[in-house]
């Protein structure tokens, strides 16, 4: 295990200065992710337009560097994404955190992949996986995605 892999510069920077932090006025979807282990909470707010496009996204919450950075990177990435794309990216990220060595979705640009992959260090820290995924699960609930019955980390 290597702490430098877990606490990469990108994570520390996003953890300290999270993007899209704070509730915005005209959201129309929201959901809360909660980690009962540590009591950390991440609340995701969305403005979803008629085309099921995320016009705006933000989050509120308190938590560790990993959960804050993950929420920050997620909100940056998901802005202006449309519904089926959102689900594809979400599943790709959760698959990567759980097992896959890389991100496969063509919808994610290279620089975005680099940011997301900075969170891959948590794989070696099973107790911290939830920290990296809490915001993503909240997004899935806000989007009304259902969990795959056979795979807790996949949405259908």
């Amino acid at each position: 295990m290597d702490l430098k892999e877990l606490y990469q510069e990108i994570i520390l920077e996003h953890g300290k200065n999270p993007r899209n932090l704070g509730k915005f006025e005209n959201f129309n979807k929201d959901a809360e992710g909660y980690n009962p282990l540590c009591g950390d909470k991440v609340h995701v707010y969305l403005k979803l337009n008629e085309n099921k496009e995320i016009e705006d996204i933000s989050f509120e919450g308190h938590g560790c560097a990993i959960s804050m950075a993950s929420a920050s990177i997620m909100t940056e990435l998901m802005k202006d994404k449309k519904n089926p794309e959102v689900k594809e990216i979400l599943n790709d990220f959760l698959g990567m955190i759980k097992q896959s060595p890389e991100l496969k979705s063509q919808l994610i640009k290279e620089d975005e992949k680099t940011k997301l992959m900075s969170l891959s260090g948590v794989k070696q820290y099973p107790m911290r996986v939830k920290c990296a995924t809490i915001a993503w699960h909240a997004l899935a609930s806000a989007m009304n995605y259902k969990k795959d019955e056979n795979d807790n980390e996949k949405f259908i």
């Binding site: 702490l3 877990l6 300290k16 540590c38 950390d40 909470k41 308190h62 560097a65 911290r128």
Partner: protein, 404 residues
């Protein structure tokens, strides 16, 4: 025995944990086990195993004697009047559930009040919570002050003529506050209110004397006392155990079972339904002997010295904020570190072999009061040394560096 020698009794410290020497600072969560306890479990299963209290063959009788021998050891350890005042449970949680359930069933009615404190672990709140729905009782929380203490005066202020039971921690697992439980019990008894003490953090660190404390119920967690998991103890005054209804039904706790009715067994069988954690009970006898060999007074002295040292070291570290400054403090050091979330602290410390706990420590009411979702906690046991606390401080400085 010197501390160096004591540490040698715990086999876990012979192993490298992720290539590090283990600095174990999570004893309030659960303590490590001395070799004698581990051996006792092995020996029982390999040479002496049988169920207890039922069959009359040689092994059954021998196992029953060993099992009952632990009950006597516990009785002496806490100075209970009668060995039948010692009930084995699956944990302190079950011990408290037992009282909440049976006392609640018999003595609580709509509008009655249960008085807890804001310091309580979830296991001394959630069991009482069910009585809100089933009985319509009210739960009150005596407030924690800015030092992390709950004073006698605050308890007194919260007692009304509706208060039917007071359930309080002996030693807070977050602020380390040692409550004036003897005085609280005296006050409660003057108003005919029984007292339950959650002794999870008290029993491993403080000398106990039930005759002096005079409480009605005292719950103990064996795995925090260098003993096996899956075992707790409820001490209850005999009058309560005789008067309250049984908790769980099953084999071993009955006197006679007929289609038209059942009569229940004598104490302590009445509260020990089914096959109990036999090996754990027998091994726990070794934990008590281990503590007795060192002397609980010596353990307390050692841990108090270390706590003072730990506070000194952490106070010198400008980024650390200690949580709680109670008048009388047990060996718990809860803290926050500027700009670093407790979970990140725990992960980084773990890399150096330093095991602490981060989170709400099953005390969300208390953390809400502190305005924090989580804290980091270093808690001590008999095997800890000043070097452990120096290592803690050094690793905290590493956290700061990573997050600077």
């Amino acid at each position: 025995m010197s501390i160096k020698d004591i540490k040698k009794e715990f086999p876990i410290f012979n192993n490298k944990i992720q290539n590090n020497d283990l600095v174990y600072l999570d004893s309030a969560n659960s303590s490590q086990k001395p070799q004698v306890v581990v051996d006792r479990i092995y020996d029982f299963y390999t040479k002496e195993f049988s169920n207890v209290g039922r069959s009359i063959h040689y092994l059954a009788v021998a196992a029953t004697n060993l099992y009952e021998n632990t009950r006597t050891l516990v009785q002496k350890y806490i100075n209970a009047k009668d060995k039948n005042e010692i009930v084995f449970t699956k944990g302190a949680t079950e011990a408290i559930n037992l009282v909440a359930n049976t006392f609640g069933q018999k003595h609580l009615n709509e509008g009655d009040e249960i008085l807890l404190t804001e310091l309580e672990h979830h296991s001394n709140y959630v069991p009482w919570h069910y009585l809100r729905k089933s009985k319509g009782v009210k739960i009150k929380f005596a407030e924690m002050d800015e030092n992390g203490d709950v004073t006698l005066e605050t308890i007194e202020k919260n007692i009304t003529d509706k208060t039917k039971i007071i359930a309080i921690t002996h030693l807070s697992n977050v602020t380390g506050a040692i409550l004036p439980v003897k005085e609280i019990t005296k006050l409660a008894h003057s108003k005919n209110i029984p007292v339950l003490i959650d002794g999870c953090q008290g029993a491993p660190h403080l000398k106990l004397d039930m005759q002096d404390l005079d409480c009605d119920f005292y719950a103990i967690s064996c795995h925090k006392m260098y003993g096996p998991t899956g075992l707790g103890i409820l001490y209850a005054k005999k009058k309560w155990l005789e008067e309250l209804p049984p908790y769980q039904g099953g084999g071993g706790m009955i006197r006679e079972v007929k289609k038209e009715g059942i009569t229940f067994g004598e104490l302590p069988n009445k509260y020990e339904a089914g096959t109990m954690a036999t090996a754990q009970v027998i091994a726990f006898g070794e934990s008590i002997k281990f503590i007795n060999k060192i002397g609980i007074e010596n353990i307390e002295k050692h841990e108090r010295e270390l706590t003072v040292y730990g506070e000194e070291v952490l106070r010198k570290n400008n980024s650390v904020k200690l949580i709680g400054n109670p008048k009388d403090k047990g060996s718990v050091l809860s803290f926050t570190l500027d700009g670093v979330h407790p979970h990140d602290i725990a992960t980084i410390l773990d890399e150096d072999g330093v095991a602490i706990r981060a989170g709400h420590h099953c005390c969300q009411i208390l953390h809400e009061k502190l305005g924090l979702s989580a804290t980091a906690r270093a808690s001590l046991g008999v095997y800890n040394t000043k070097e452990d606390l120096d290592q803690l401080n050094e690793s905290l400085n590493k956290c700061k560096k990573i997050f600077s």
